[in-house]
Amino acid sequence: MSLKSFVFTASSVLALTAGAAVAKDSITIAMQLEPPHLDPTSAAAQAIDSVVYVNIFEGLTRFMGDGSIAPLLAKSWEISDDGTVYTFSLQEGVAFHDGSAMDAEDVKFSLDRARAEDSTNAQKALFAGISSVDVVDPMTVKVTLAEPNGSFLFNLAWGDAVIVAPESIEDIKTAPVGTGAFKLADWVQGDRIEMARNADYWGEAPVLASATFKFISDPTAAFAAMMAEDVDAFDNFPAPENLPQFEADPRFQVLVGSTEGETILSTNNKQPPFDDAKVRQALAHAIDRQAIIDGAMFGYGTPIGTHFAPHNPAYVDLTGGSAYDPDKARALLAEAGLADGFETTLHLPPPSYARRGGEIIAAQLAEVGIKAEITNVEWAQWLETVFRGKTFGLTIVSHTEPMDIGIYARPDYYFQYDNPAFQDLMATLNATTDPEARTALMQDAQKTIAGDYVNGYLFQLAKLGVAKAGVLGLWENAPTAAIDLGAISWAE
C-alpha cells in the first residue's frame, strides 16, 4: 500500500467516524463500466469522461448539466466577424495537479496534439476545422479556423478537448494530471477509483473532500449494491425494471432525465431489400415504439420519429409519420413485391435496450412477415462486422454523441444513407451561424431523414440515476458523459 493511499484510507476512516457530527463530505458513486484508462483525449470510452470530465481535466469550455455551454479555463473569448478566428483569454492562476501553471502553451499543445497526423483522438473530426493555434501571450490563445463553424465552442466542451500538460502526457493514462478540483488518489483496477479534493483548486472549492467511483457491470449486482447501501449513487442505473422499487423506498431517490442517445433500429440502406424506401417505411410502421419502451425500458424513454433529441428546442415531433400500423406495413411490403416477407439479420450489442428491444422488434417484425435472425454481439464484434464491415441487415444502437444528425451526411457511414440533398443541407448548416436559420435547417434535416425512413426511430434513451435520498447536485440529464463531483453535496 502506498503512503498516499494509506493517508487517504486513514482520512476516510476518520471521515466515516466523524460522519455523525458533521455533514458527510465523501461519496461512493457506482457506474456500470470501468474506464480502460484515464486519458479522455485518446479513447472513445464514455467511462473515462464520466470519471475525469471537469473533475480532473478541464477544457476551455464545458457542458453544464442542462446541456448549455459555459466558460471554464477560457475566462472569455472574442470571435472575429467572419467567424473564423477565436481569441481566448485564459483563467489566471490555474495550476496543474503537479504544481505547474496552466498557460497558453498548454492550450496550444493540447489542441495541436489532438489534430496531429498521428493523433489517436477518437473525435479527431472535432478539430478538423482548425487551421492554426497561436500563442498570443501566456494568457491568450488565438485559434484560426479554415471556415466558420457554428458549433466550435460546443466542440471544445467535449471531453476529448480537455487541456493537458506536455510534462505529464507520458503517464496520462494511469496518472492523469489536470487542472480540475479533484486528483486521482488510488485506482484498484477492476474495482474502484478514488479521488481526493485538490486543495489548490483555482475555482470554487468543492464540498466533497473525497469520492469513490465503483464499477459494477452486472445489473443484478447493481441493484444489490444499491439496496445493500454499498454505494451512495448509481450513475446511469442499468436495470430500469428496478426503479419502481427504489421509488417506493424512502431511502432512495430516482432521477429520470434524458441523454443525447437516440436509440434507433439502424438499417443497412444499401442492402436489398432495404435499399427500397417502401420496405424501410414498412419497417417503420411494423414497429410499436411504446411496446418497446414498455417492454425493454419499463416505460422510461421518449418516443422519437427522427434522429434528434426531444429536449432540443429545434426538435420536431415526427412520430406520427411512422405510427404503429402492421396492416399498412404488410401493404407496403406487398407493394414492394415482398408480400411473403423476407429474412434479414438483427445484430444486437450488449446493452439491455438493444438485447431486450431486439427481441421485441424481432417478434413485431415476425407479425408482418419479416424474419429477423437475432445475433448477439460484443461491442468489439459489432464495430468490426456492423460498423466497419457493414455486413448486417438491422441493428439496434443508441447514438449518444450530442447533435449528431450530421452522420446522415456521410454516405460511407455504416447505415449507408446517401442523399446529396441532405449532404448540401448539412454543409449549409455548418456554415450558418444565425440561430434562427440554424433551427430551420435542423428541422428540415429531421424531416428529410424521417421522410426517407432511413432508420427505425425508437426512443430517446433515458438517463436513470439512483441515489440515496440525501445526495444533492447529481445531473439529471446527460448532455455528455460526466459526473460533476463539484456540484455534489449531502443534505444536512
Partner: protein, 315 residues
C-alpha cells in the same frame, strides 16, 4: 526420482509450448480489433491506424507470437492494449482476489466434505448416509450462479449481513477482505463440497472393503480407530485428485461468480478483456491458468508420493 522429475518437467514445458501456440491461434482469429474498439464509432481510419501502430498490432502474427512468448519467458507479459498497464501487474492485482477466493472456497468445501463424507461412509446405508447423499445430489444439481443470486437476495439485500459484492481490498484488514469474499466463497464451495463429499465417501467405502482394514480390526482396533489410522490416508488419493481439479476450476471457473458479486478477479478480467478484444490480456491470463493447472497437477502428484510410499520408490 530425478529422472521422474526431469521427465515431468520436459512434458510440462512441451505442454506449455503447445498451449501457448493454441491459445495464440484461437485468440488471434477472433473478429474485432482492439484499436477500433477503443476509438469508438467516430474514429477516423488514420486514427485507428495510428493507434494500431502504437500498440504494435501492425506487426505480423508470427512476430507478435514470438515477442509475446519471449517476453513471458522473461516475466514480461506485455502491456494491456486498453488499460495500457503491464499485464503482469494487472494479473498480480487480480490474483490477490482470485487466489484467496479459490483458497477460501476450497477450504470451506474441504471442511464441509471431509466430515460429511466420513460420516456418510461410516453410516453406510443408514438414514444419515441417505440424508447426506440426498443433500449432495441437490448440491451437485444447483447451478452456482443461481445459488449466488439467491444468497445475495437473502443475505445482502434482505438481511444485509454481508455486502452484496465488490471487494474492499486487503488494505482494510484481513477481516474486511474475508467478509467480502464470504458469500462468493460459499456460492462456489457448496457445489464443490457436494462433489468432494461423494468422492470422499466412495473412496472410504472402497478402502473399508480392503483386506488390510480387516487385518487392522483383527489387531483389536475398533471400527473408528481402523478408519482413522488406516482408512483415511489410503482414501486420500482420489480425494487429492479432486481437490487438485477443484482448485484449478475455482481459479478460473469463478468467472460467473465474480460477475455476480462484481469481484475484481482474474475471471472478470478475462471476461472484460475478451469483450474489449484486449487480446494480450486474454492470452496471458489463459496461459497463466493453464500453467496453474499443470503445476497444481504436478503438486498433486507430489502429494500422492507423500501419501503413498509405493510411488516414492518408483523412479
Amino acid at each position: 526420482m530425478l529422472r521422474y522429475s526431469l521427465k515431468r518437467l520436459l512434458s510440462l514445458i512441451l505442454s506449455l509450448a503447445v498451449a501457448s501456440a493454441v491459445i495464440f491461434a484461437v485468440i488471434e482469429v477472433a473478429p474485432g480489433d482492439p484499436a477500433s474498439f477503443m476509438l469508438g464509432v467516430n474514429a477516423q481510419a488514420d486514427t485507428v491506424a495510428a493507434l494500431q501502430a502504437e500498440l504494435g498490432l501492425d506487426q505480423s502474427k508470427l512476430q507478435r507470437y514470438l515477442s509475446w512468448v519471449s517476453g513471458m519467458l522473461g516475466g514480461d507479459f506485455g502491456t494491456s492494449y486498453t488499460y495500457r498497464t503491464p499485464v503482469a501487474e494487472m494479473i498480480a492485482d487480480r490474483l490477490w482476489v482470485s487466489l484467496p477466493l479459490a483458497l477460501f472456497a476450497l477450504t470451506l468445501s474441504t471442511l464441509i466434505a471431509f466430515p460429511a463424507g466420513i460420516y456418510a461412509a461410516s453410516r453406510r446405508g443408514r438414514a444419515g448416509d441417505s440424508a447426506v447423499m440426498g443433500a449432495t445430489q441437490l448440491g451437485v444439481a444447483i447451478p452456482n450462479f443461481w445459488f449466488a443470486m439467491i444468497l445475495v437476495l437473502i443475505f445482502a439485500i434482505n438481511l444485509r449481513w454481508f455486502s452484496a459484492g465488490g471487494f474492499s481490498g486487503w488494505d482494510n484488514g484481513l477481516l474486511a477482505g474475508m467478509r467480502s469474499l464470504t458469500l462468493p466463497a460459499i456460492a462456489l464451495a457448496l457445489p464443490q463440497a457436494a462433489i468432494l463429499t461423494r468422492v470422499m465417501r466412495s473412496s472410504l467405502l472402497d478402502i473399508l472393503g480392503e483386506d488390510f482394514m480387516r487385518t487392522a480390526r483383527a489387531k483389536g482396533l475398533s471400527r473408528r480407530q481402523a478408519l482413522w489410522r488406516h482408512g483415511l490416508r489410503n482414501a486420500m488419493i482420489p480425494v487429492l485428485t479432486i481437490i487438485g481439479l477443484q482448485f484449478s476450476f475455482l481459479l478460473a471457473g469463478a468467472i460467473i461468480i465474480e460477475q455476480v458479486f462484481y469481484l475484481p478477479g482474474l475471471g472478470r478480467l478475462v471476461f472484460q478483456a475478451i469483450s474489449s478484444r484486449d487480446l494480450i490480456v486474454v492470452e496471458s491470463v489463459v496461459m497463466l491458468l493453464v500453467f496453474a493447472v499443470i503445476t497444481v497437477n504436478f503438486a498433486v502428484d507430489l502429494a500422492y508420493a507423500a501419501v503413498d510410499p509405493r510411488l516414492r520408490s518408483r523412479t
